[in-house]
């Protein structure tokens, strides 16, 4: 390992806890600067934000404002349009439940989706909304031309930036364009995409883009939602409380419009989470992302080649690194995914995820494997040795059965 790789790994204290961590699609490790910023908040501020008349509250509010700017800069959007919410799931539900749906409205989503971008839309059928689910091609990609046809007369199209199960990066620019041309609102689940890509979401300009701190080297329990002007014009807040309204009386209330995010963040928010997410975003911005992703791509190639060379292993999704995040799902003949996951952990200290990864439609309807697969997901702090250890363990297992 090079000195620079070691220095980068030093930014993630939990790497010292041992084992081989290959579950970054579930949660990336938290970077040191995020941990320090949260510790600093509790040690030095520890007060509520906004509307505070004393200096410490004002200073803490400034920290949160800075965090919003840092997270917004990470995806190239205006901080005014960025709402902090507990997670990607919460953010997508905010959109799904905040649009005043009309009977007969139609929503389009895909069979690739994580439950967080699937259940909120399916649930709308109870409100008279039609929901269509389009299938990816055999490699796990949504064809924008096909999406354009299906999006006709749809009020909203929702799709993932990158599959959490097989890693396929979708052409979100073309998908957004086609859906927009068809007159639909566009919602993107960016949980996995934002984790690995430096995408200028401001340029792509979907109507909503949701992502999470814990997938971007930040803490858990904090996410963000970008909203376009079009979406802001129709979206109503799902939850109301302190900070939502300009004024209220027994006769009613007037929602806050300035800044636009205010009416979507009622109550005391996750202040350390926001600050930690901001620090993680700032850390990411300080990195040479191109160099890091090149390194991760080489690891992914090494992993895919190794897996494809083991006769008992079957890889799902694309067999090459191009066009995907470093997320690989596979099965081993003669073993269930959970048994592989537990053996890797128990006997080899390797942490992976097993099952359908909250994407049961993909595993059941596309791959005919309702029990799912084993998922190894890499990130920039992983090493070639991590990949070698996984491959060695799987080779042993392949021989054993």
């Amino acid at each position: 390992m090079t000195d620079s790789a070691n220095t980068f790994r030093d930014c993630f204290p939990s790497l010292n806890s041992g084992g081989v961590y290959l579950d970054s699609a579930a949660k990336t490790l938290t970077c040191k600067s995020a941990l320090e910023s949260m510790d600093n908040y509790y040690s030095c501020f520890d007060v509520n934000i906004d509307r505070g008349i004393y200096r410490r509250s004002i200073d803490a509010s400034i920290r949160v404002d800075e965090a919003r700017s840092e997270v917004a800069a990470m995806i190239g959007v205006s901080p005014e349009r960025l709402v902090f919410l507990p997670s990607t799931t919460w953010a997508i539900n905010t959109v799904a439940n905040g649009i005043p749906w009309r009977n007969g409205d139609r929503v389009v989503t895909t069979a690739l989706e994580h439950h967080s971008n699937f259940l909120p839309w399916i649930n709308l059928r109870r409100r008279g909304v039609e929901v269509d689910v389009i299938r990816p091609d055999s490699r796990g990609y949504i064809d924008p031309t096909e999406a354009a046809v299906v999006a006709r007369n749809a009020r909203l199209v929702a799709f993932t930036h990158a599959s959490n199960a097989i890693g396929t990066l979708q052409d979100i620019g073309a998908l957004t364009r086609e859906a927009r041309n068809a007159g639909a609102l566009v919602v993107i689940d960016g949980a996995q995409g934002a984790s690995h890509e430096c995408t200028d979401i401001g340029e792509i300009d979907p109507d909503a883009y949701a992502f999470s701190g814990h997938k971007c080297f930040g803490p858990a329990g904090i996410g963000a939602l970008y909203l376009s002007e079009r979406m802001l014009a129709v979206l109503e807040p799902m939850v109301l409380g302190g900070g939502s309204a300009e004024d209220s009386s027994p006769g009613g209330y007037t929602l806050k419009n300035d800044p636009p995010w205010a009416r979507f963040e009622p109550g005391t928010p996750n202040i350390p989470g926001m600050i930690g997410f901001g620090a993680a975003a700032s850390f990411r911005q300080s990195l040479d992302w191109h160099e890091l992703t090149e390194g991760t791509s080489l690891l992914l190639t090494c992993l895919l080649e190794g897996l494809n060379s083991i006769p008992s292993v079957k890889v799902y999704g694309p067999g090459e690194a191009a066009g995907k995040t470093p997320v690989v799902s596979f099965r081993v003949d003669g073993y269930t995914p959970h048994s592989i996951g537990s053996i890797l952990c128990q006997n080899h200290g390797i942490m992976v995820r097993s099952g359908h990864h909250c994407a049961p439609t993909l595993w059941r309807d596309i791959y005919g494997r309702p029990e799912g697969a084993v998922r190894a997901s890499l990130h920039a702090y992983n090493t070639k040795d991590d990949v070698k250890r996984l491959l060695l363990a799987l080779e042993c297992l392949g021989r054993g059965r």
Binding site: H338, S339, N347, G355, E371, C396, G400
Partner: protein
Amino acid sequence: MTTVPRNSGAGVGYVVLELCSYGDSGDFQVLPKSMVEIRLEDRVGWLTARGGRAAVIEGVLLAEIGGTQISLYRDGRAVLERVTPCSKQAALELYHVLVEVDTDTGMKQKRS
């Protein structure tokens, strides 16, 4: 003897975690809170005598009985897949039968 609870047996608690599952059945992980040691080789015979399939591979007992897939480790950790009904209680009961521990007392059961 198949199960040796090192803290004398009674009151061995278990953590039961639900894993990613599908359909009407459930997948669970059972972990004893105290140190236990299971002789996996003994369990192979016990399972095959009851119509199951079982083998110890890489220190893991991999078995299938009545549609349920089992991965059992010497330290008592177990992954139970396709458990019906889909409940933690059903998983724990199956686990206790598997390692011959009485569900109520936590003590090893006598063989019939």
